[in-house]
Symmetry: D2
Subunit: 349 residues, 4 copies
């Protein structure tokens, strides 16, 4: 494949937010050409009617999944558990399949069962899928044809913790991660909890314990330590700010944290260490990341107690979903890793 | 009836925002005792489950409308056109009936038909109802037993314009009123347009022309002039800010506007003229009115053109609905007009 | 003093948010009469120019502190460290002094020095002050004449943890409390960090470690355990939502948490346990508390790990400052404890 | 100049929002290379400290304006009236000068004096400047070396009205335009009115009459009619939604409005006519335009009265300032008109 060649993309379930975001990014990507987008409820309508930011950008119309034709790449943006049940149908259509749901992230079907409360519909193929996190699995992603896009909260947790755990800079003690999550994470379907008067001013703990991304983060993170997640919805639409509370071993200092992040992330195009000595933007803030593929990471150490507060911010729909998937695809296909992901973000925003 | 006596209140349709707000105000009212609240979908549940601000304030549970018993006052908080169809049923239950919908506001059944697109279900009784606007109809409200609560956008328009039109301080020329409206005005039911990710950052013109409150405002305002309304939704939950663009006759000045407002509103307990020479709070702002029964009114004159911008702000659920109704009831029952309506509002808010 | 008697109140530093909120509550209080409000920068102006919610509610004007006259109660709403330096001046003016700052909260001058980085300006009188938290110090407050109002974040932490620590329902293990704080907590002065374009969409970790309220909370909470605070600013104006991550001893269950809260808070007029099995308002949410004196408390247990997530929500300016102070004063003066604090809060809000 | 050549750009006053937005766009532009950015208060600091969205995107540091060196293009992002006073200094440094302020927009020094309350500091050069609105002045912009970027509110008014006025589809009767404006329009300096607690929930009429952009819009719009502006601040950070109330001559219909817009804007790359028969995104909404160079235009006709409500939405910092300037520069330099302006905008946002 030459760099100028474009691969055709079919997006299955393109009327939701994840599919819509993949569509936005793919329309601006130098090596992708979106040829099909499916939606059961909006079949026949222009995609720009559902995603009005794309007015004038595409003339594509939604079709039903039953009308799905072949494509080089099939992107699945379906509700959890839907992709796995029909996976044979989709792998027939395209050489490369990217799943944005949680269906193929967990390697162990037993963990899947414990996490999602039912048996995995297609456990035999689980081993074929690469977890779509370039920072941890770049080599596995090269040439990959099955990519299971990482979860959004999980990504913010994993990227904050991975270097420190890998290099032994944290005690194997309870780590508590609190995610402040925007409303788009719950998807495009209206519900009582997403009703604007009930949500606009709300700070709502929606998953104090038992968050499903715990399994995914635990699978990916090295070491043996208890990981605890709490998720709180905020008035933002996009974005996750995660604070992870962890503990430095005796004798370690701030310098060791810096070293670990630098060693692991030095060459990463989408990870920035944000820790300013002054100013109002000292730590990661999702406000700055809407539409971008960055994961900003920062930290602060309480030298009296050894407690370290790790912070990470992402746009849940980009680095947390569609952008992460594009980055993974770029690696899989041998393209420039940043292709299609160059938006810098806005300030003010 | 002695001042300390309490009248019993039944609220029909109490799970919506208008009914919930009436309930909140009635629970704190010295002469009202809420004894029944109906809701078809929440029957059997504590009202505080739907209106969580009332936790610890009441042990009432919703019942079905079919189980409605007698009460001194029946308050109808039903969707438009529902109250009128069943009005005989409700007038049987209570001596005083207050309707929060648009069903009994318009005096002329033909205007109702033109405005709401169907014949009025109970036109014979229209003459019994007093339009629930104390500033215009205080005398009619004394002893009234049928009160049709004024519409929220209409109230903001009427109160801004009434004194100037009454006293001839405006030209009989097109008046254009633009209302910036919070999301609670669309009610408690979730919909695509109220889905937080679609609404939180939106400035959405939802009724550029043809707003139904035009009929109501035209009915109540003196003089013969064309009135044009435009309604835009904002990211606020409560509140309406209306700017009305009108024209001063030759020879009139700012002083005449001041005089008109003072003459008409001098003794009004809930109308404040807000026009400060400096500071950041120079004009009416709904930010300051959440939960209050105030209508703040201000203005600015363009001396070069005679254009005058009238501004009014209210909480759509209080002065725009439930508070206005309570104030009307206070007058109807001979109580202190401000009873139960003493909340000052918050700053900051 | 008979119940109908009113005590005169002077508010020193009344142009800020804490002083303004005390003023709002005091104006509606049956036993208080505000006679003086000072502000250096706004001296001579009507208080309603700075607190526009009070238009039509008071004709008071600000005076300079130098013109402060005698009053039954002197309320100090000054920047931290200002009250202590001039405390003799203020105790001369009033029999009862309520300080809303942090100056007199800590009993131990050494802890004050460690926390605030300088020696306490008036350490000799520290023992005279009662920490203004009615739930913990109701008996001490009766007849008290020196009340040091509790800090807002500290209050949310203390009220969530106190019953469980008191009754031994938590392990003496690290407790991590994360506070999501509204912008009003930083006060009424404009700054770069409070500039709307920089703040409106922000989730900003402003105090990951080293929060000063740690000292206060540790002083008040029973038992010996490490307490760690992290504070994050949110797009809300008012309110704090605190999640405290703690650990249940072996053999304890959800029932023990319920029991502890019920035992300690059963008779508390302003503490509500919020833990609904269904619906969208299952846990405490500051959205519902603007303007109220409630502290809503909830929890969830991870039965697999023994981790318990305690949640508390308050309005930082009411239960976190001025309302807590009024409640303390009500006890100190022998009045109905809820006097002046009856606002239920709004829904939607 | 070949297409691949890059022109050097110096941004004077680059710490504000307009300068920062120009910088963001220029950094991603194929033919521009930013070599200098000045800021008096931030001289010596990395630009990414003030514009944190540019972390990892540029290593530029601010310098003082006194250290300004030569550049192909000098962009002035100074407070109004500052650029004009020192214009000779800047034209010396660069062949092409783009001014983002209001200083060179008005052709007539007397109109400038009437509008800005003082004599123009450099009236002799006013004729050299092209008003930076490509839709109206594309031909004049080709090869231009002095570009006066159009004002943001003015742009939204002009683009909504221009085709209809040009083609005689509106009566020469009072046109009233109401602009709902985000907080970034007031600039990067903190003030009492921009203090988050005072602004977050506010709907504040800040310029009911006498808006300075009236002069600019009147200069650019054809025909002789009275134009009246009212400006209201909203809780958004970016964006302007303008509704213009105008009047159709007898015998004209919706079709004529469509025709006029289509005739004038058919080939415009950044103007979209948005008028959907259904769905929730029927009209222009600034929510969808953050970061984009689009001006979305829609309308609705009241067939009973001939009133037409024209609506336009822009991002005040892009199509309202820096993007408009880039588009003008692209034309002036003979580049692809859309170069550097390809961001589609987000949904949800």
């Amino acid at each position: 494949m030459t760099p100028s060649e474009r691969l055709s993309v079919a997006i299955v379930g393109g009327s939701g937010y994840a599919g819509g975001e993949f569509l936005r990014l793919a329309l601006g990507h130098p090596h992708l050409e979106v040829t099909q987008v499916t939606s059961e409820r909006s079949a026949g309508l222009p995609v720009s009617m559902v995603h009005p930011n794309l007015r004038g950008r595409t003339n594509l119309k939604f079709r039903k999944a039953a009308e799905l034709g072949a494509a080089d790449i099939v992107v699945l943006a379906l509700p959890h558990n839907s992709a796995a049940k029909r996976i044979a149908e989709f792998t027939e259509k395209g050489r490369i399949v990217v799943d944005l749901s949680a269906d193929f992230r967990l390697k162990d079907p037993e963990v899947y069962r414990a996490t999602y409360g039912e048996a995995h519909p297609a456990p035999e193929g689980l081993g074929d899928w690469v977890y779509g996190n370039p920072e941890l699995h770049r080599e596995d992603l090269r040439g990959a044809t099955r990519i299971a896009c990482a979860g959004c909260f999980a990504t913010s947790v994993i990227l904050a913790l991975y270097p420190l755990l890998k290099l032994g800079v944290l005690l194997p003690k309870d780590i508590i991660a609190t995610g402040l999550v925007g409303s788009s994470a719950a998807g495009a379907s209206a519900s009582e909890s997403s009703h604007h008067p009930e949500r606009a001013g709300s700070l709502r703990v929606y998953k104090p314990v038992g968050h499903r991304h715990t399994a995914e983060a635990s699978q990916e993170l090295p070491g043996n330590f208890p990981l605890h997640l709490t998720a709180i919805s905020t008035p933002r639409v996009r974005g996750i700010l995660t604070t992870a509370q962890a503990w430095l071993p005796d004798g370690y200092s701030e310098r060791d944290i810096w070293s670990a992040y630098r060693e692991v992330y030095a060459a990463e195009p989408f990870v920035r260490i944000v820790k300013a000595a002054r100013g109002i933007h000292r730590y990661p803030d999702p406000m700055l990341l809407d539409g971008t593929n960055y994961c900003d990471i920062g930290f602060e150490l309480d030298t009296e107690t050894g407690r370290v507060v790790l912070m990470s911010a992402i746009d849940n729909l980009v680095k947390g979903t569609a952008g992460h998937a594009i980055q993974s695809l770029n690696i899989a296909c041998g393209w420039e890793e940043t292709a299609g992901l160059d938006f810098a973000g806005l300030h003010p925003a």
